[in-house]
């Protein structure tokens, strides 16, 4: 077996480019640096240059950004990551790179075309002087030697739990103790930022336990790891809800989080002068006032139910509730159930009701995209998040960065062929659905599920079986708009009457800034504007183009207010950058924000 690896053209090209780029930056010459990029280039920065999450498009935007940041950032040490050899394919040379700034260390990804940079990703992963205590820097645990003033680990934990929020104020308060909140809290613990997580439910994991019986994660295990503690190799592909709940409960303990269960945030206001929040919470029935410097809402990207208001709802004599409040199917055996909506929750609930022996009708109000779970795993996620990817040496961290390296502006171009493949692969499935009268779409530009998720956070179903029930008529399908309810059922605009004992409104969720309206004020909610969405100008994602998810994981128009969430992958990946932004402020490092987003939509 003979292996010869030699410095090849790809490495030479990257080395040359990095040399020129490093020199231009060191010379504090933005125009010279920008000239190394293609006309149609993208530079995505995750807090390394901008203390913001921004993508810059073309030389002019890059020049302006560098002009404003370069003298402070003082980037240097650009080099190819050890073990991340450059490779060329289809005229594009890719490379993993390392660099430093005046305050931290960064990783990046580079794509060259004809010797010029087409896409550049720069990310900060640690702050100098505030490196996380892991691996070679892990704590000793035992304090060796003899010390009459010794306190034990448990005593220290008890002491912290007793004082934080009582005699000592947390620097960060995280509202919401689901996977997003606790993953962020784990990172902040590593960075020694005093943090409390509150959640209204009785136990960590109850966010999942309280959902319907048959729920399993729709994303596979490789996509779902939490920071620091990976699921073991025997973890199921799709976590059952109670199993992930138990995991998250263990996680809060293993990560030594200050987690306040049965605690609800009642009101919050920010004092611009003192830079302090006043947050009134009810902890196990008792009011407590917390005064954190930073407030993070991690109450769920899809957390605020959009409950519709149909005439006659007040007269309906059966059960009716939003999908988020659906107790599961057990009480509805043999009953007539109408589910309004045709996305993920609607399908899941229809499937579970049918399994229990209910008579189920789905009301489809607008077109929906469906990807079959197995196809999604194989052709959309497989290269980055799968057993095969792991076997080929792909780590979760590298997969996350690879995904992050594709600019949102052109991501659909990479997605469209995936769904063309899916359409071919599952041809019979889609034909059967169509025959059953289902209004199926592939997204405005045929870019499929993930772009819908990124643009609007809705409009799709990851099929784990319930689509077949619709296709074969086991779950009845009706298309149209709800006009009103009567005492005994739902009436559509075309006059169709659907008698019902149960009506479920699987009508989706509103923007996270609705949480800010409730907790802080409508004024602050309007000031920060809508969360989520790229401004793509596609359905339910109006422009102007933003280039990044609105308000997520980055500074907002309200000082010291942050939004955190997304799916497990996003929560894991972006929690690092949010944690570093919070740490920089706690440590008093200058972290001026470049290009703070403007607000174009209020909700």
């Amino acid at each position: 077996m003979t292996t010869v690896t030699q410095p090849d053209e790809a490495t030479a090209a990257v080395t040359t480019w990095l040399g020129q780029f490093g020199e231009a930056l060191a010379a504090n010459d933005p125009a010279r640096a920008a000239a190394l990029f293609t006309e149609d280039s993208f530079w995505r920065d995750l807090i390394a240059f901008t203390w913001n999450i921004r993508t810059f498009e073309g030389r002019d935007e890059i020049t302006r950004m560098l002009g404003a940041t370069l003298s402070r950032v003082q980037p240097g040490g650009w080099k190819i990551t050890a073990g991340g050899e450059p490779a060329e394919a289809g005229g594009v040379t890719e490379a993993w790179i390392d660099f430093e700034t005046s305050v931290g260390r960064g990783k990046g990804q580079l794509r060259l075309r004809d010797g010029q940079c087409w896409t550049l990703l720069t990310t900060l992963y640690e702050l100098k002087g505030y490196e996380e205590p892991n691996g070679p820097r892990r704590p000793m645990g035992a304090e060796h030697g003899a010390n009459p003033d010794r306190t034990s680990w448990q005593e220290n934990r008890d002491q912290e739990a007793a004082s934080l929020g009582v005699t000592q104020q947390p620097y960060v308060l995280i509202v919401g103790g689901g996977q997003a909140g606790i993953g962020l809290a784990a990172r902040l613990r590593q960075l020694s930022v005093p943090t409390i997580v509150i959640d209204k439910r009785a136990r960590p994991g109850d966010q999942w336990r309280s959902r319907y019986r048959s729920l399993c994660l729709h994303d596979p295990v490789w996509y779902d790891h939490m920071p620091y503690l990976k699921f073991p190799d025997n973890w199921p592909v799709f976590s059952p809800k109670d199993k992930i709940a138990d995991w998250l409960e263990s996680y809060t303990r293993i990560m030594e989080l200050n987690y306040w269960p049965s605690t609800e945030a009642k009101s919050a206001s920010y004092n611009e002068t003192t830079g302090e929040w006043t947050v009134t919470v009810e902890r196990e029935g008792q009011p407590v006032v917390l005064r954190p410097r930073q407030l993070v809402l991690a109450t769920g990207m899809s957390g605020k139910p959009n409950v519709p208001s149909f005439p006659g709802m007040e007269t309906f004599r059966g059960d009716q509730h939003h999908s988020s409040a659906h107790p599961g199917p057990d009480a509805y055996r043999g009953q007539r159930c109408v589910v309004v909506g045709s996305n993920n929750s609607a399908f899941d609930i229809c499937g579970a009701l049918w399994e229990t022996g209910a008579d189920v009708t789905m009301v489809q109000r607008s077109s929906t995209h469906i990807s079959r779970s197995a196809s999604l795993m194989e052709i959309a996620l497989g290269a980055l998040y799968s057993e095969e990817a792991v076997a080929a040496g792909m780590t979760t961290e590298k997969a996350d960065l690879t995904f992050a390296s594709v600019p949102y502006r052109i991501m659909h171009i990479f997605q469209i062929p995936v769904y063309e493949q899916m359409r071919e692969r599952d041809k019979d499935f889609y034909e059967r659905l169509e025959k059953a009268g289902f209004d199926h779409d592939w997204g405005d530009d045929n870019s499929g599920l993930f772009m819908k998720y990124l643009r609007r956070g809705s409009g799709y179903y990851i099929d784990v079986g319930a689509a077949d029930l619709v296709a074969n008529g086991d779950v009845k399908l009706v298309r149209g708009q709800v006009d009103h309810l009567t005492e005994t059922g739902v009436v559509l605009e075309d006059g169709t009457e659907l008698p019902a004992d149960l009506v479920v409104y699987a009508t989706g969720y509103n923007s996270m800034n609705g949480w800010a309206a409730d907790l802080i004020s409508p004024e602050v909610a309007d000031k920060v504007g809508k969360c989520w969405g790229l401004g793509s100008g596609t359905t339910k994602d109006p422009g102007p183009w933003e280039g990044e998810e609105r308000n997520m994981w980055k500074p907002t128009q309200q000082e010291a207010l942050w939004f955190h969430g997304g799916n497990l992958h996003q929560s894991r990946h972006y929690s690092l950058y949010l944690a570093l932004q919070l740490k920089a402020r706690e440590a008093g490092l200058p972290a001026p924000v470049y290009g703070l987003q403007e607000v174009h939509h209020r909700s």
Copy 2:
């Protein structure tokens, strides 16, 4: 950067040897196979050939073993492990190898000298048809499709918890829910062997929580991983007792174990005719009779306190207890404390008492070896279990197998130089100890701490600070034997009187077969004989030579009775082989034991 790897002499030598070995075995020719070994060779087998844990020394023993096992085992497919390239150093060529048997797949390690095998390790890691459901075989979790009879993960878990031990009998009962018991139970769960773990304490982890306040593990994190779920990178080097307790509690849940807390085994008897144990346990105060086919005692290798019997103990008016019952120092501030013993527990307790402000005297009755923790980590464990080892690509599994590949008969030869180095490195420390009158030894043959642990499980202290208290006189040291106690103190044989408010008997532990005496009968305890010890003929490890730890992790003279335990490393590593032995029996695979050990010592 140019790397050239070519088939070298080491690879050629191993390939040649494996070819000849494989042919001799395939030809069912034990003598021809044995002739490929050196005169002074060792073949250590972990259940692959013998369904036993045995080391064979020299060609005759190897020939006899092969003669008895070869036609059944049908080994084949001998090859160098991918990525485990052979290497030569000092005339010894080492290689990692794979092979198969008629029932399973194995891994091994080989050392050649002049083209002949000097040491061979063969281990079985999985049974064909009973591969563990992990990695590419992990469970789906979600059951896709629509199924009216669907039960959820939680319902299945609840149903199992309600029926196992009530309407369905466990195949295996594990007595003792510390790290050893639950690690084994986790493996049995993966192998679908119905198992219950019982423990008398209220919560998993209480085995650690109940110990004295300042206790931390004496072994470092890299040595301590549990099966399947590794400690995260931010885990401390030395786990504080409450932190490891929380981890173990989470572990039982994450691994979905059937763990009965607050449950004590009261009596057990085996029916040789039906092959069934009758075990009466008290579960939360209620008697329950269990009828497992296999009984595992995992109550602690050092679990049965050796409480001495000194004249006058009944008249002593202060507190007195065995070290295992020591409540910690808090009640003894300012009091006169006498600790009888000079090993690990004695030092830990003396240190904590001194820190609390007690007046402490250690009674040293016999010589003790002390290794400083940092030195032990660096020069004894570092190559296999350390951050540096991890960085160099060493995995826990590979480290365990590497350690397992050194035959016990010659292990001291590798250990002696380590302690020569330690003696030099910590010269000042040992001189100060000696000056203080401490009776220090390096083991009968200067082979140090680990050989003492393997031979007798006692006689040493891993210094985390308390040795200095003895060296500098903060903890008073007295040498001699206890003659009797008075109402007010301890009197030594030389007449020395030690006034005391507290006497702690840090007098060690008895063999695990004492547990069998209590639970089953003295007859069965005598029948299986002493646990632990190699028969080295050194202090407290009388011959004849056994070559393996007596009765540990392998069949005993009592059918269906097993002993499991050791430190975290051993519990992790050997739990695999014990689990496979139990699985083979549960699955009805023929698993004839070759070379069942004889009993030479009863306790």
